[in-house]
Amino acid sequence: MSLVAVTRSEYTKQFSTAGWWVLAIVLVVYVAFTAGVLALVFGGVASGRLTGSGPTPQTDGLAGLVYSSASGVGYVFPLLVGTLMVTTEFRHKTLTPTFLATPRRGAVLAGKFVVGIVVGLLYGILGSAAAVAAGAGVLSIFGVDPELGSSDTWTLIGRMLLAFALWAVVGIGVGTVVRNQVAAIVIVLAVTLFIEPIVRTLGGLVSGFSDVVKWFPSAASDALVGKTIFGAMSSGGGGALEWWVGGLVLLAYAVVFLVIGLFTTWRRDID
């Protein structure tokens, strides 16, 4: 019962400030742009309108690759929104009234977890819609089949929604461990934009390294979604996890962070 109340409270909290839709707009623009450019390049080369420097890619499965950019580049957004769900509470000291209303602190985190999944799914829908709209639009200009009727496309979108939801709860875990908002944002951006891409690129080059790298969160996420530009360009798909293992790994990251946070920062004195 209490969990329903605290979830409703967290839901109101999440959607009564501007943060979520500002990030959502940036997500849509960013994903649409990326998918559009990818569709332009791949579609143009595949259809022969643009001259490629390498071998001509096949048009089969090209649409899925373009659409997967939603999670491939957009996963930072659910991660950020999840992190902010926790760190804003510390930053604006709203944890005081929150814990006064719900002294069982674990329940607050559980409520955030549920709302995090809701926000993650919402971002997943927005991101997928942006990728499909921009990608399919550009692909059809070049006469490449957008594959909107294909069950593969819809499976891909379903898995992307799952990935978005999991990234949001990973973000909540990160925010619970790293209370400082600025520090948390810097860590999230540094890891997702610099550290992981670099290490994964190296992992594709050094043999044996990819067995470690495939357990990284973004690699697990790509495995879950099944197709990525990153995977297509670097590792060659050799060391990738099964899609469901990828999902479990991502969930494990979220749970580990949440448990660490629950027993450290979440138990601390609030002042």
Binding site: A5, V6, R8, S9, Y11, T12, K13, S16, T17, A18, G19, T88, H92, K93, T94, T96, P97, T98, F99, L100, A101, T102, P103, R104, R267, D269, I270, D271
Partner: protein, 409 residues
């Protein structure tokens, strides 16, 4: 109508490393009264309140609301309403949405949001973002949050902070009204004057320890009074007083003489042919007593065994005082009608009474922050007129040993 609950702190202690923010605090707050929780900045008020509310984990001891810890309350917001600081808001959220968040958590109907916003006078700005609110408006929103669950207990930290005079007046009458309904109202402040007119009972802490517990009327002793006298020829008057060995303080508004009736002072001056420009009686200032209590100069019996005896007077430790819960009369020397300057009745110090109007800052306090080497410092006093005089340190340090507070000039 929710019932007020008794708040009880038992041996409540919070240590941050070696520093005791709150040190074995025993206190009881009764329903139906407005209780003021006083102490200087850093005395441990906020930490005590946060321990009561389950936000800070006590090092030892307990704090209960109607016998239950905060975390064990079935419906916390309907039992206790608290406003701890004027900044617990997301600046981007509207006032109404802020309240809605906590109404949802406490399973309260959202109609309650509009009710409390109307109650605190924020109905017109319900949809505005809190980021644009003034401190006074935030204070009101904090109070609205506290009142959301219509609780029987209200715990407010510095509720009048940032309010304009009209707002302070409104807040006072609201708190009185809530207490008259039978609720428990606990408000903290670092200024006695701010709560003096509102509170029925007082808890005073200093350096994390209880120094007074009881009614406002127990704070001041009716036998403490002073005569204020002034003359155009102040030199002659001070010479006369010196000659008679009468201790006095020279403040802006004249000489303050303790335990001497105006009629006696007047007769004295008349006998010496000194024309007076002012002669009046004044009661003991509660602010003075408050400052003495928190600085450790004065020890009140209601503090029970919790007060650390000052090093000079180990025998005077009020260890025999049995109760810290009821403001029993002090077991100190019985006040006499003797108008000769004597020890203040509630003093347990065997030394001649320090003046009650001047609080030396160099008193040996148990806290580490008072551990600086003894050096003459400016003391200060708050006269009943509200004028704050800064008094330069005594010229002769040896004089301060026996009579720390009398400053002659």
């Amino acid at each position: 109508m929710p019932e007020g609950q008794v708040l009880e702190l038992t041996g409540l202690t919070k240590r941050f490393g070696a520093v005791s923010a709150v040190d074995s605090l025993d206190a009881r707050v009764e329903p139906g009264l407005v209780t003021g929780f006083l102490g200087p900045n850093g005395a441990g008020k906020t930490t005590s309140l946060r321990m009561l509310l389950g936000l800070v984990r006590p090092t030892s001891g307990t704090a209960t609301i109607g016998g239950k810890r905060y975390a064990d309350l079935a419906s916390p917001l309907q039992t206790v309403g608290a406003a701890l600081e004027a900044s617990s808001f997301h600046p981007g959220r509207s006032a109404a949405n802020h309240l809605k968040v906590y109404a949802r958590a406490a399973k309260l109907p959202t109609s309650r949001v509009d009710e409390v916003l109307g109650l605190v006078g924020l109905a017109d700005v319900a949809g505005r973002r809190v980021g644009g609110f003034s401190l006074g408006m935030r204070q009101r929103l904090g109070l609205a949050t506290a009142l959301l669950g219509d609780p029987g207990v209200l715990v407010l930290d510095e509720p009048t902070n940032g309010l304009d005079p009209e707002g302070i007046r409104w807040m006072r009458s609201l708190l009185r009204h809530l207490a008259e309904e039978g609720r428990t109202v606990l408000i903290s402040s670092h200024l006695l004057a701010e709560v003096q007119q509102t509170v029925d009972a007082l808890l005073i802490i200093s350096h994390g320890r209880l120094v007074f517990q009881g009614g406002v009327e127990d704070l001041a002793d009716p036998d403490e009074y002073a005569t204020v006298v002034d003359a155009p020829d102040r030199a002659a008057l001070s010479a006369l007083l010196d000659e008679r060995g009468i201790p006095y303080q020279l403040l802006r508004n004249g000489f303050t003489i303790r335990h001497l009736e105006p009629v006696e002072v007047g007769a004295l001056a008349a006998g010496a042919d000194i024309a007076l420009s002012n002669l009046q009686s004044k009661g003991a200032s509660l602010e003075d007593i408050f400052l003495e209590l928190v600085s450790g100069v004065r020890v009140h019996a209601s503090a029970g065994g919790t007060t650390v005896p000052t090093p000079e007077v180990p025998a005077a430790a009020p260890t025999g005082v049995p109760d810290a819960e009821s403001p029993a009369p002090a077991p100190a020397p019985v006040p006499t009608a003797d108008p000769v300057p004597a020890a203040a009745p509630v003093e347990s110090l065997p030394e001649p009474a320090p003046s009650t109007a001047m609080v030396p800052v160099v008193t040996p306090a148990p806290a580490p922050r008072a551990a600086q080497p003894e050096e003459p410092r400016s003391s200060y006093s708050v006269a009943s007129t509200g004028v704050i005089d800064v008094v330069p340190p005594a010229p002769a340090p040896d004089q301060a040993a026996t009579d720390t507070t009398e400053v002659q000039r």
